[in-house]
Symmetry: C2
């Protein structure tokens, strides 16, 4: 007899085809969809609500550290982008160019672009240059510094191989831009934000990250130093989940962001920029979801609990609904993290199984079913998204109310623990070129990458280029904490035998 395959809500499974599984989870959870505009996505209500939770929490962290929100133009004159040579080079190949400001009928009655602009406008791929222009007007004395600004906005980077959330032509993000009197202060700001991003990933996304610095070849165009947080997805690939850039005086010199110091001397300011985007939603999906769909960390879930009234066996469905509404009200009085518990009641006319599965696929942390018998015994039938779909248990309502926020915390911590285990099981210290190539060999063309390799590297970029060519593996970062790179400090490059200051993190990456 053929062994029956365990049925899952998502086809294919992670093991069968990870990239396709990702697309199917996004679709099954109703997070987003492709749009008729190449590379641009529609973020549906459930996906957008996750982004709003990310926004609210990060926004609070930025405010606590003295940042203020503002808004700058969507369009950047071409000449602005050109002011910083490396910067423009980084974006010319992928920018949407506005060349006209109206449409008009041609002789064949067809609407064609008209009103040609003297200077083309670029739809912002990032806003260093347009915000720097404001800074150059806002800053004249050391008393005006620091300036700590954040913007929530859409940006456009033309994408030839788009992928929902991970790589889209238009995406939503926040971009911080700050100016300081000294290099030390600017660098300290860069680190503050780097720390906020890491804390956000770990506390709210349940995503363990390595804090590190990018190699020169991987820096943001125009930056002197770029710091990132790197997380491991379930296919063992790395995903860069946030970057913080120390821009030195590159942009302030290009844009004349100057101030008089307290001795009356004119100086250039030191600037930083930093951002995270809707890519985080993609990271969330890839880090925690399973073969039954999305799994949401409770801290970011749009709803913590869904109540499913079981009406078909009852002769008084109205009483059950009333009972569910009371439970919802009681639950919504409870605090969980920075907000109250959020509850949905699903009383759609759907079969019970279909209904429950729709919420499993959407990743809601806790489901409770309430039918006539549960009501009679004043209990709930409870299921957790971090357990198997059919693992349910009956719990007295009182006990449920007393323990529900603990269960949410348990789910949050459990996801973190699982992600940590995945990473540690798939991270290896490698001390030879042969073992390094062996580590990544199996993943050639397959869906599972080797994981994170911690290996010494001399700093020679040509080596990194060769490794990328051979294995599609890149240096994700130089960990700030040497222990995250395997520890032990200096050593010998496994590729060249040259000295290496410390091990770096290698992986395939999104």
């Amino acid at each position: 007899m053929k062994k029956q395959r365990a049925s899952t809500a998502i086809t294919p499974t992670r093991a069968e085809n990870y990239p396709e599984w990702f697309q199917q989870v996004v679709r099954a959870a109703d997070l987003a969809e492709s749009s008729p505009v190449r590379g641009c996505m529609v973020i549906k209500p459930w996906g957008y609500a996750i982004w709003e939770n990310i926004q609210r929490l990060l926004d609070g962290m930025f405010r606590e550290t003295g940042h203020k929100n503002a808004y700058f133009p969507l369009f950047i004159p071409k000449s602005f982008l050109e002011k910083e040579a490396k910067h423009v080079k980084g974006f010319v190949k992928e920018c949407a160019v506005v060349t006209h400001h109206r449409l008009e009928e041609n002789s064949e009655g067809e609407l064609v672009p008209a009103g040609k602009l003297e200077e083309p406008l670029i739809v912002r791929p990032t806003s260093e240059t347009i915000i720097g222009d404001s800074f150059s007007r806002w800053i004249s004395s050391y008393r005006d510094l620091p300036i700590l600004i954040n913007q929530w906005a859409n940006v456009v980077r033309w994408e030839l191989r788009p992928r929902l959330f991970l790589r889209t032509t238009e995406f939503l993000w926040q971009e911080g831009h700050t100016a300081h009197a000294t290099a030390e202060e600017a660098l300290a700001e860069t680190h503050t934000i780097h720390g906020i991003y890491a804390r956000f990933a770990e506390e709210f996304m349940a995503l363990p990250v390595i804090k590190g610095e990018k190699t020169p070849a991987e820096r943001f165009p125009g930056a002197e130093r770029t710091f990132s947080i790197e997380a491991m997805m379930q296919d063992r690939k790395a995903l860069q989940a946030g970057t913080s850039h120390f821009l030195g005086q590159n942009f302030s010199k290009a844009q004349k962001i100057r101030f008089l110091d307290d001795t009356g001397k004119q100086k250039y300011a030191w600037t930083t920029s930093w951002g995270v985007s809707t890519r985080l939603v993609g990271a969330l999906v890839m880090a925690h979801s399973d073969d039954n769909g999305l799994v949401l960390p409770p801290r970011l879930a749009p709803a913590h609990i869904v109540i499913l009234p079981i009406l078909f066996k009852s002769d008084r469905p109205d009483l059950i609904l009333e009972h569910c509404q009371k439970l919802k009200d009681a639950l919504q009085e409870l605090k969980f993290g920075d907000r109250n518990v959020e509850v949905e009641i699903d009383n759609r006319e759907l079969r019970g199984g279909e209904k429950a599965w729709s919420w499993i696929k959407k990743g809601v942390p806790i489901r409770v079913e309430i039918g006539p018998r549960d009501m009679a015994s004043d209990s709930v039938f409870l299921a957790r998204r971090d357990q198997a779909p059919h693992e349910k248990r009956s719990l007295p309502t009182g006990e449920f109310l007393e323990t529900v926020t603990c269960i949410l915390t348990e789910i949050q911590d459990g996801l973190m623990e699982r992600a940590r285990r995945l990473r540690s099981e798939n991270t290896q210290i490698l001390n030879s070129r042969a073992s390094f190539y062996e580590f990544f060999k199996d993943s050639q063309g397959g869906s599972g990458a080797g994981g994170f390799a911690l290996a010494h590297w001399s700093g020679d970029e040509t080596i990194a280029e060769q490794v990328q060519k051979d294995l599609q593996v890149t240096i994700r970062c130089i960990p700030l904490d040497d222990n995250e790179g395997g520890g032990g400090g200096a050593g010998t490059c496994i590729f060249s035998g040259q000295p290496s200051p410390q091990r770096v993190v290698w992986a395939k990456a999104y």
Copy 2:
């Protein structure tokens, strides 16, 4: 002897030059500035914080009425705009057109647009067509209806005569888009939102508005009916502060938004759209501010209270600052409206007068000064933004804490009352063409318009066109409540002698 002109913080005054006064208030309050991108503004932190308050409050009202947020692409394919004939006509003359997706060096080393798009993309001037495309995929059965979506986004309408907040090429807004099974439901939705906008204007902006319907010539391009709220500014011009459109089946037919009803018959859905924008911030400025700068309704003020420590006379400034911090903490425990009281302490190294004036210009509702003597007597020296700058009084700290939220409510209500009085003093029922022309005559070329004229009109658009040509006066709306048009129901058109169903509101407008 020459009578000395009372000195004001803003030059010119409202009476001297209203449009220029507006620009100067926006600048003095640090709300926004023009950018190097023609027609696009930079919204500075103080201005953006007002917009964030508007967003939070409206967003809550939309949620309470069952709407969900989502996000749709910035770009609209030209062919999409063309699907609804009237719609495209309304926007072709003012749209930003993306024609290329990269820049590349030409033979002279200059960066020029490259990668020409097969079909030009329009930067969204509004999103009916791109959202309608999603709706056509999301909706298949009557069970999928209604769909109630809102989007917070930036939009672009090319503006040849831009003006901060009031008329900018790029602006921020919310746009609601809904689809319903019946015309009645869609119309009810249109009215619900119209009501939310009116309530928001009155309760939070302290802005009395007339709820009315637009005449056919003034409808949104593609709408069957457009409803608006109309407010009077201090120069007696009208400002349209929000619109709600019943789109009938125009867009659903153009985009095949269809569903099977409960008998299995295929039908077209009925859709609505509605929006308010950063223009509301401009309305706020023009409605309440005075010759000393911005005056903010407390419900929308980024900070309710500023504490100004007076340090120069003290030998222990540290104690004063500590005392101020304690007061701030105590104040921030208090609830006002949907949030806690927000307080700033200004301890910049500035002269006291200069410091106080900077907050007067920024419109903060309450200022308290605290020096050594106030501290010794445990009192505060209090000034209200709705009173003259030098009208201050000493108040025991305890009493201040007990009454401060009442004072904020008093200021909020006082602004509403003042705006109501302005409007009623400058609104006239006019029953002849001669008195109508007389009412608006004085304002020819001057800065002060006549106000709101309530007059009968037959419905003949050519009359409206003539009046606009003669006086730059237009029909703002047909009031839903006939009493707001002067009452009395049907009558005779004052221009043509033809029958008129009711009086309509005429005014010059922004």
